[in-house]
């Protein structure tokens, strides 16, 4: 992982933050890969432990240098899922005029998710905390980063990755995304505008949680942390860059400091057009790296490398849309282009601009990896 120190490694490291179960099962047949978020505690933890093994083996089989783990987002032992009943969903529909549905799974953070049976993953829906007062009630039992069982599958990931010489990336959730997902969107925006005091307090609480998880990732021997959760959409940031800087980037810097203290690098992930947020991310938050540099939102990895590459390392930016819709030849071309623009001098990890979701063609995903292996040897020789 010399590359994150801005040195040229032997070859460009390759990574994916997430791969949907269907692709993992195809690659690892006859293994199964589960999405057990709604299962009772004991069963859930067993399935997550199973997943941890399959995931490391899968990432290793693909020749990836880095494997992710989501300990910070894994509920502890004894935690039970809350599933909205028809009556509860109906009441929320009436109160908010939003389309809450029965069967919505409410996670530890108040985020509502529903199961996508085709992709076999849980997909974010409306936040289930609908007012500041409800948040206060929810926060009375704020998630404990050190709760027993939160790291049960992470320990397996760590052991298996170490046996294979793979580096480890610990996943966190960004406070802005957590707020955006815990509340209905308009409610969050209204609170951001009208109750900045509350937003500061909430962001501080989420940051404290993340900082403790970072400490734990450090103890477990991780190499970097990736703060997931989008801060931008296709047309630009979710909030005004000055607000992001004031409310979120400064607190993100606290997480970066915690990471450095634990000897970890700190990476911010976001889909969307993050270009106007780059000064905040680099100068205020002082992150070490950026993932996933979304080309479909106009992010050109060459330009980012030119402007910021001396200070941060880059992870991305083969378009997920291309993995889903384009020909294999076009994916190969895009991958070569990413390597050509971003790899020289180090500071680059090749990956898609989000994840390998179900509708990505696996043949294209594998073409991306093969191109990484074929052309990723230093010194880079792509004309």
């Amino acid at each position: 992982m010399n590359t994150i120190e801005h040195k040229e490694p032997k070859r460009v490291p390759i990574f994916e933050l997430s791969i949907d179960p269907i692709h993992i099962e195809t690659l690892m047949f006859p293994e199964r890969f589960w999405s057990p978020a709604d299962k009772p505690s004991a069963e859930r933890i067993d399935l997550l432990k199973h997943n941890a093994r399959v995931k490391v083996e899968c990432w290793d089989k693909l020749g990836f240098s880095l494997v992710p783990d989501s300990m910070a987002l894994t509920p502890p032992s004894g935690w039970s899922a809350k599933i909205l009943s028809e009556e509860e969903a109906g009441k929320m529909r009436e109160e908010t005029r939003l389309l809450y549905t029965a069967g919505t799974f409410v996670d530890e953070w108040g985020r509502g998710t529903i199961y996508d049976s085709k992709c076999r993953v849980w997909v974010q829906q409306y936040g289930t905390i609908t007012s500041l007062e409800e948040w206060e009630r929810w926060a009375e039992a704020f998630p404990d980063p050190w709760a027993e069982g939160r790291d049960s599958d992470a320990k397996i990931t760590v052991r298996l990755a170490a046996e294979r010489g793979m580096a480890l990336a610990g996943v966190l959730r960004e406070p802005l995304a957590t707020l955006f997902e815990a509340f209905p969107i308009t409610t969050y925006y209204r609170l951001q505008q009208e109750r900045p005091d509350f937003i500061r307090r909430a962001v501080k609480a989420y940051t404290d949680y993340n900082s403790e998880c970072i400490k734990r990732y450090g103890e477990l021997g991780f190499d970097l942390v990736i703060s997931t959760g989008d801060i931008a959409h296709r047309d630009g940031p979710l909030i005004r860059p000055s607000l992001f800087d004031e409310f979120f980037a400064k607190e993100m810097h606290r997480q970066v400091e915690a990471a450095h203290k634990a000897d970890l690098k700190y990476v911010k992930h976001s889909d969307g057009d993050i270009r106007t947020l780059m000064p905040s991310l680099v100068n205020t938050a002082r992150v070490d790296g950026i993932h996933s540099l979304d080309p479909s939102a106009g992010v050109d990895i060459g330009k980012i490398k030119e402007e910021w590459g001396g200070r941060i390392f880059l992870m991305g930016n083969v378009a997920v849309d291309s993995l889903a819709l384009k020909s294999t030849e076009e994916v190969v071309e895009q991958t070569e282009e990413c390597i050509r623009k971003a790899a020289p001098g180090g500071g680059f990890i090749l990956c898609s601009s989000n994840s390998w979701y179900t509708h990505c063609k696996l043949v294209n995903c594998l073409a991306m990896v093969r191109t990484g292996h074929d052309y990723g040897e230093y010194p880079i020789r792509i004309p």
């Binding site: 085709k118 969107i185 308009t186 209204r190 959409h233 047309d235 940031p237 979710l238």
Partner: protein, 219 residues
């Protein structure tokens, strides 16, 4: 305070995303000193137009666009009783949904807020809406516009399928179709025979208002 000044204060408060309760109080005050409900509607629409322009110039962001749209909807709801007797507050009806295979809702919901803020009636079918549900809604709701949204690339086939089904059912000329979302673009809209591609929530609302015969922006 005279009426014109009160309406101006209302417009400015919406554009500047002042607290909701304060904006509602300003609308109430304007009514009390003699503003007609339709003048409030025009003022709100003028303010939204300004917010939309600022968004397109990238001086405003999704937060301001959403807040202004939501505030406008609240004011529309507040003055609805006064408007009942006036000439048609509801200028048209839109059926909207995220197509089958896609559970993403954020983009669609922001479009819903913007459409409602324009006084359009919106029938929201939710996410992962199968083709036959869109067709059924077009038959029963008789909307002026069918709006389909999608973030995942898989939606591109679904949108085409719905338009094809509208043709097969003899409904295509009864409803305008707009599509939007990360996964699609103007070329694709043309390819599948949609009437338009809404590049943003504001764009979608502007199109809807144009199609339902009312200018957005007021005086």
């Amino acid at each position: 305070m005279e009426k014109t000044a009160a309406l101006e204060e209302l417009r400015s408060a919406i554009v500047n995303c002042v607290k909701l309760e304060e904006v509602k109080a300003l609308a109430k005050r304007a009514l009390e000193i003699g503003a007609q409900p339709l003048e409030i509607v025009d003022t709100v629409k003028g303010a939204l137009d300004e917010v939309g322009d600022l968004y397109e110039k990238r001086e405003y962001f999704l937060m301001e666009l959403t807040l202004a749209g939501s505030t406008a909807s609240e004011i529309m709801n507040m003055i609805k009783p006064e408007l009942k007797a006036s000439v048609g507050l509801i200028k048209g009806k839109v059926v909207i949904g995220t197509v089958a295979g896609d559970l993403h809702y954020i983009g669609k919901d922001i479009v819903v807020v913007m459409l409602e803020s324009q006084g359009l009636e919106v029938v929201d079918l939710g996410v992962d809406v199968p083709c036959n549900r869109f067709i059924e809604a077009v038959k029963t709701e008789k909307p002026d516009i069918l709006a389909m949204s999608g973030l995942l690339t898989v939606v591109v086939d679904e949108m085409g399928k719905v338009i094809e089904a509208l043709r097969n059912e003899g409904l295509r000329d009864k409803v305008k179709v707009m599509i939007g979302g990360r996964a699609v673009n103007p070329e694709y809209a043309r390819e599948i025979g949609a009437d338009a591609f809404g590049a943003s929530a504001f764009d979608a609302a502007k199109l809807a208002v144009e199609w339902t015969g009312e200018k957005m922006g007021g005086q």
